[in-house]
């Protein structure tokens, strides 16, 4: 059977690359004594897959990994055991038992939400940085465009792509105190925008590409280090095409014993 594990990644752990996070989980599951299913063959490995890799330097409250297990106690026990033996900055926030027909999260992810803030140390280095008001006004103006064309480079080719349809939602956050959490804090400049972007194997849009296009549009001399990104959640689509959180997809609600504390 499979479980889908939601976790947060924050603090200095943001600099740990995707493959190393994967290795770290393998060791974490061993320490936690989780009854993980291994592949057959001479060098067995844990059967796990991640929904969408997170770039180095980015924090998140909405990471997912699917894990095959042979047996379970209950969700709370499993969460506790993993969290008790995890590194600081990796925290399991939910575990969902999947039904037998569930596809892996990597194939169903369609969208991801991000907070984008300006790092204070970079903000202070600019000679004439935009105020929060100016920044928000420009940002709204930018997204009011019907088309946002950018040069998108892939491994094989370069192409002009209209990214506007790939931006599902956006918001300039006025009251940033409401979104501060253990894993993400807005800096003193108070600037933070929310983006919900198309994600997945097709039409993947990174928040960095959006911000690059915006800086070009606004004429800001920001570089790739100016912004800090935080992923909030990952989404799939239901039959009607609405975005729903990955934790709500393919949930096995028959096995209620998993969700009850023993």
């Amino acid at each position: 059977m499979k479980v889908r594990i939601r976790f947060s990644k924050y603090g200095v752990i943001r600099f740990i690359g995707h493959l190393d996070v994967m290795r770290s989980f393998q060791k974490n599951f061993r320490r936690a004594g989780i009854d993980v299913e291994y592949s057959k063959g001479f060098s067995p490995h844990q059967l796990m897959s991640f929904s969408a890799p997170l770039g180095v330097g980015i924090t998140s409250d909405g990471e997912y990994l699917d894990l095959s297990i042979n047996s379970y106690t209950d969700k709370y026990d499993m969460m506790k055991r993993i969290n008790d033996t995890s590194v600081d900055g990796i925290e399991i926030t939910d575990i969902i038992l999947l039904n037998d027909k569930a596809k892996n999260s990597m194939s169903i992810v369609k969208g991801a939400g991000y907070y984008v803030k300006i790092r204070q140390e970079e903000y202070e280095e600019k000679s004439n940085p935009p105020s929060k008001q100016e920044f928000y006004a420009k940002f709204s103006e930018f997204l009011a465009n019907e088309k946002i064309e950018v040069l998108k480079k892939t491994k094989k080719s370069e192409a002009i792509v209209d990214i506007r349809p790939l931006i599902f939602e956006y918001e300039c956050i006025e009251d940033t105190s409401a979104i501060n959490s253990q894993s993400f804090q807005v800096d003193d400049n108070g600037i933070c925008v929310y983006l919900l972007l198309s994600t997945g194997s097709n039409d993947n849009l990174s928040p960095k590409l959006v911000m690059d296009a915006f800086c070009k549009y606004a004429g800001y001399d920001f570089d790739e280090y100016t912004f800090a990104y935080h992923r909030t959640q990952m989404y799939s689509r239901d039959e009607e095409g609405n975005l729903i959180a990955l934790s709500e997809v393919d949930k096995n609600s028959e096995k209620t014993d998993f969700y009850q504390k023993k």
């Binding site: 924050y10 752990i13 600099f15 290795r23 060791k27 067995p44 330097g57 590194v87």
Partner: protein, 622 residues
């Protein structure tokens, strides 16, 4: 959120920022308000190398067991961060608290190989600590060195306040107590050094003067401080089953060289190979007891979640309860999907059975280290491995399904002739021929033999400490000759020949047996930009040679010169247990091609019995 020493931008600009952020699982955290002594432990190479070192894990764990001490780690910043730190005046910091090394009470540097010497200066320099010990002030950390290179610390003596000769676990308690007491009574740096100079195993270089003869050999090595000892005797742990061993080793995020649980089963070696420094300086052999090892192995696997465990020792096959230990580990590890890696095993029925159980035959290879190509030469170096044993082991393995063999040899040993060198090619070929005696339908494809040669560097405290090392030209000529001979063999297509760089070897030769005059060269080389000399992509041989010339130091004096029996060697002030007369006797035996039995067969009176530990006969009298 924890504060890092580097900004996000700086971290994103360098390769592998994980090297500099700490926070690995099992990292020790302490409140600085609760500690009296801050110790920065350094491995002067890149993180992935340094993190793989068992000695630091042991000392880190042991020092942190003390409530009054906080031991943190620091490694050499990689060349990209090194550049950034110089450009932006960033001071070298520790991983745990991300605070400047300069603020620490101690900076401990482990010296595992000679080619890291410029990296020592990098660490001191980036930390803002004066390079020479005598230029340091009361506010600078006390810089201490340990590890195998301290058996001749002279080329780097100038850069250290003191060295610990021997096993550091034995002495850190005393050193820290003395430090605290000295600090509490307002004692100076020099007063502290004078106090510890009286401890066994502590060498304070500035308390000694060296004078030289006209022919550049040492005239006199003399102490200039009453507190200093005339001779420094190495210190060892007598009972390795009664000493702290980490149960919660650090678990790095990035893949490091040694990404596994390391179980040190014994120290020392009974073999007495005459080229091998480790085989002499770690005497006598001391085994850990089986129950201790079983318990530690299980705890470390539970506490790390590592997927592999490895046994560590100079010659695992000599551990008397190896079978019990290995079969226990195989059972336990199978349940946990943990791999076992068993380096330095002699190939015999037992090890083949074990390898069959723990390794994928298709991928794994057999390793032999004959070190020399002919029996005559193997007798010279006292390597008790015969061609018969190698062929028999290989055949057993071939019948068991293996078809890959790795062979390790050395070029440039004393008394070596071109016949001995050709013997390397012949032996490689003979193993391949052995494989093809198996009927074709029973073979597992083609055989693959990989023969590697390194160049022999004479090391202090070995029977070869007096010998002339080959010149670069001789090494290269021998290598070319062997390459030609390899190509003449019947099975040459099955043999791959690898060799080491001769230029690195030459420098290693200077450092290994150098004296205090070499320090000026190392300093100048560092200041001219030499760094990461152990990494071939950064090693600049020509630059080094120019600097030797500029400093008026002749590298050939240290490498291609045979020493007299009576010459004062730079490391003679150290007593590693094994006596100089024993070493000379062994050198004579080498020249006569006489094999000396191993410590289990017979005590050869090397002198290590004075430690009254391990295998030595006098141990039972205590």
């Amino acid at each position: 959120m924890e504060k890092l020493a580097l900004t996000d931008k700086q971290l994103m600009m360098v390769e592998k920022p994980e090297r500099y952020i700490g926070n690995e699982y099992n990292m020790v955290k302490k409140d600085l308000a609760d500690v009296d002594v801050r110790f920065a432990m350094c491995f002067p190479d890149v993180y992935e190398i340094g993190m793989s070192h068992l000695g630091i894990q042991i000392l880190y764990d042991s020092l942190n067991k003390r409530e009054d001490t906080y031991c943190e780690r620091v490694y050499s910043p990689w060349v990209d961060l090194d550049k950034l730190m110089r450009e932006q005046s960033i001071k070298l910091f520790t991983l745990e608290t991300q605070t400047p090394v300069k603020e620490f009470d101690f900076l401990g540097i482990t010296l595992q190989y000679e080619m890291c010497y410029t990296n020592i200066l990098q660490v001191l320099d980036l930390a803002g600590i004066p390079l020479s010990a005598t230029d340091r002030g009361e506010d600078d950390p006390i810089v201490v060195g340990g590890g195998p290179c301290v058996y001749n610390p002279e080329p780097i003596a100038e850069f250290f306040d003191f060295f610990c000769i021997g096993e550091g676990e034995k002495i850190y308690d005393d050193v820290i107590e003395i430090y605290k007491e000295n600090k509490a009574t307002g004692g100076t740096r020099t007063q502290f050094l004078e106090k510890i100079a009286e401890l066994e195993g502590i060498y304070v270089p500035q308390f000694y003067d060296v004078s030289y003869n006209e022919d550049c050999t040492i005239k006199e090595f003399k102490k200039n401080n009453l507190h200093a000892k005339d001779k420094i005797k190495k210190i060892i742990i007598s009972d390795l089953s009664d000493i702290n061993y980490p149960e919660k080793p650090l678990v790095p995020f990035i893949k490091v060289t040694q990404d596994r649980v390391v179980l040190e089963i014994q120290r020392g070696c009974i073999r007495g190979c005459r080229f091998c420094q480790a085989g002499m300086i770690y005497r006598p052999i001391r085994e850990r007891n089986l129950e201790f090892l079983k318990k530690k192995a299980m705890l470390m696997l539970e506490n790390t979640g590592h997927e592999e465990i490895s046994l560590s020792s100079l010659s695992s096959s000599d551990y008397s309860q190896l079978k019990e230990l290995v079969y226990f580990l195989i059972d336990e590890c199978k349940k946990r999907y943990v791999n076992i890696s068993l380096p330095s095993l002699r190939i015999d029925a037992f090890s083949l059975d074990v390898m069959n159980k723990v390794q994928d035959i298709k991928k794994s290879s057999l390793t032999f280290a004959p070190e020399a190509g002919t029996q005559k030469q193997r007798n010279v170096i006292n390597k008790g491995l015969t061609e018969e044993v190698i062929l028999e082991g290989a055949m057993k393995a071939f019948n068991g399904g293996w078809n890959k063999v790795k062979l390790y040899f050395m070029l440039g040993q004393p008394t070596e002739t071109y016949e001995d060198i050709e013997g390397i090619a012949i032996l490689s070929d003979r193993i391949a021929r052995e494989y093809y005696t198996i009927p074709k339908d029973q073979r597992n494809g083609k055989v693959s033999i990989t023969s590697s040669t390194s160049f022999f560097v004479p090391k202090p405290f070995t029977p070869f400490q007096w010998v002339r090392m080959n010149s670069k030209e001789e090494f290269l000529e021998k290598q070319r000759f062997l390459n030609g001979k390899m190509r003449e063999q019947l099975n040459q297509k099955s043999i791959k020949y690898n060799w080491h760089e001769a230029e690195t070897t030459m420098l290693e030769g200077v450092f290994a047996r150098g004296d205090r005059r070499v320090a000026a060269v190392i300093k100048k080389a560092y200041l001219s930009g030499c760094l990461y000399d152990a990494w071939s992509e950064y090693f600049d041989y020509d630059k080094w040679m120019d600097i030797f010339k500029e400093c008026g130091v002749d590298p050939d004096f240290y490498t291609v010169r045979e020493r007299d029996k009576d010459e004062i060697l730079p490391w003679d002030f150290i007593d590693c247990g094994v006596s100089k007369s024993f070493l000379w006797r062994e050198y004579e035996n080498a020249k006569n091609q006489t094999v000396t039995p191993n410590c289990r067969q017979r005590c050869n009176g090397c002198g290590a019995a004075s430690f009254k530990a391990g295998i030595c006969p006098s141990a039972s009298e205590v």
